[in-house]
Amino acid sequence: MTVLLECEITAHQDIAPGHKRLALRAEPIATVAVPGQFCMLEAHEGLYPFLRRPMSIERIYKDGISILYKVLGLGTRLLAHLPVGAVINVQGPLGNGFPLPQGFNRHILVAGGIGVAPFPGLAEAILQKLGRTPEVVLAARNDRMLLLVKEFSRMGCPVHIATDDGSAGMQGFASDALESLTPDSSTLVYCCGPTAMMRAVHGVCARHDVRCYASLEAEMACGDGVCMGCVVETNSEDEARRMVRVCREGPVFDTRDINWNGGVRP
């Protein structure tokens, strides 16, 4: 059940330049949340910024959750200044988690930049619920912007790194790194990151007959299925099913269902 909850900040630290981890005391959310779901955070009480900020859940603990975010605009700047002990209003959990289908013998999580945000919880679930160790592709502009390399290594996940400038790992994009891992039809790929990156990852997966789930992001007013603002276009020709809500039908989609050419924000 989704709730509106006043949550105390229990930890709040930098994880890379301009990137932070926020931990919240939020037992009513933690007890029902699953990896891949998100929350709507109210960064302050004022009316500008007006809307909440949708943020995926990084990890789910017994009495709380953690969230990774990039300081990008007004909302995240206000959030970034909040000290431990401050209280913010959180709405969640929202959306659908990552599917964990049986029958795949290889799992690859492909993250571009802050798109890694929902993956620690997913990696944990794959380890615990499926008894398999996922591989992780981490892509970033450069070595300083790489996120969570140590965390995934500590979980025992093989980590493959790609940077735009080659300052760490291979020089190239997330999709290049995925291609070099030669996924096949027994591989399940999860991806999250910028649209161009997810489109390219979907392309690699489509060429190699690999099933791929993507966690999408969209401008969103309500997070709860009401505003119809966060839609993406599917390949369905049925007028009633052509536009689907990232918040309600997503945020996780099978990438084959999405129109990657014009149906998602640039």
Binding site: M1, T2, L4, E42, L47, Y48, P49, F50, L51, R52, N89, Q91, A218, E219, M220, A221, C222, D224, G225, V226, C227, M228, G229, C230, V231, V232, E233, E239, A240, R242, M243, G262, G263, V264, R265
Partner: protein
């Protein structure tokens, strides 16, 4: 025993309190019932219904602005049949008063929607959206003119809807006019039972880095606290000229905001996109209005309607 009477009559629609929600900001009610009991509202106004389902505009559709937001949804909705089948039973079981917002492409379509909604018990009042800014592709010319911008068309459409139903008919007008009184009087002349004011103000937003519009449809409708003073003024203008009541809306985020609309002359109010930020805003407005009345010794909320002191 409630010491304060909050009940109002909005053009023939009995509401136990003067608070509803603006169409498109509350879905069909069921989406928000887990935050509070939605039957506590004076009425639930549902998302605009069209005869057939609509997919709406290309994304992005939402853009945050100072103390508000732009939207260019384009009336994505499940269509009349799905509404009657999937949404009405829940609202009836909850004993909600239903204001069904409708959108058609011709007067006949509005009439058919109103008639079917009455026949199938899908509404207690009809709110005709003559003012959606987002159903035209802004790339072509200046976009289509809104029905609500032409008093002659408002008269024609209102008459067609009134002829099709015995339910109270509210006409939702656009603030994108030089003088709100003209279309409001046209609606009244056409037999409207109330006027809903205001729909969104037309606006746009451009990303200087990419030099592209931030909305997929280029232009959109501005709503939120930023537009509230405009809305209060338009409600005041309309109420001074009209004999029929006004449902006031535009940027209401609290009971204090709602009171401004009542004092300007609105008989009832609708909470709009603030529900996106805080889904329980409309309930807080109900509670806040009652608290205000008790604090000020007001026994009947109707006594506040148009009671601005000059």
């Amino acid at each position: 025993m409630n010491p304060v009477n909050l009940a109002v009559n909005l053009g023939g629609l009995s509401m136990k309190n003067p608070v509803t929600v603006a169409s498109g900001t509350f879905g069909y009610g069921d989406e928000y019932n887990h935050y509070f009991d939605i039957s506590r509202l004076g009425a639930v106004t549902v998302k605009s219904l069209t005869l057939r389902p609509r997919a709406g505009n290309a994304p992005p559709r939402i853009m945050e602005t100072p103390a508000g937001m732009l939207n260019a949804i384009g009336l994505q909705n499940i269509g009349l049949e799905s509404y009657l089948r999937e949404k009405v039973p829940f609202l009836r079981e909850k004993n909600c008063v239903i204001i069904a917002n409708i959108y058609g492409y011709t007067p006949d379509e509005y009439g058919e929607l109103a008639r079917r909604l009455e026949e199938e018990n899908g509404a207690d009042a009809i709110e005709a959206n003559l003012s959606c800014p987002n159903v035209h592709d802004a790339r072509h010319a200046r976009g289509g003119a809104l029905v609500a911008q032409s008093p002659e068309k408002v008269l024609e459409y209102t008459r067609a809807i009134k002829a099709a139903t015995t339910l109270p008919v509210f006409i939702k007008l656009s603030p994108n006019v030089a003088d709100i009184v003209e279309p409001a009087l046209a609606a009244q002349q056409g037999g409207a039972d109330a006027i809903s004011l205001i729909n969104t103000l037309l606006g746009m937003d451009i990303d200087p880095e990419t030099r592209t519009p931030r909305l997929g449809n280029i232009v959109g409708g501005l709503s939120g606290p930023a537009i509230r003073p405009v809305a209060v003024k338009m409600v005041w203008d309309a109420c001074r000229a009209l004999e029929i009541p006004v449902l006031g809306m535009g940027g209401i985020s609290s009971a204090e905001d709602a009171l401004q609309f009542l004092l300007a002359g609105a008989r009832a109010v609708a909470v709009g996109c603030m529900s996106f930020r805080r889904p329980d805003t409309a309930l807080k407005v109900v509670e806040g209005l009652e608290a205000y009345c008790m604090r000020h010794g007001i026994v009947d909320i109707n006594d506040l309607v148009g009671a601005m002191r000059l």
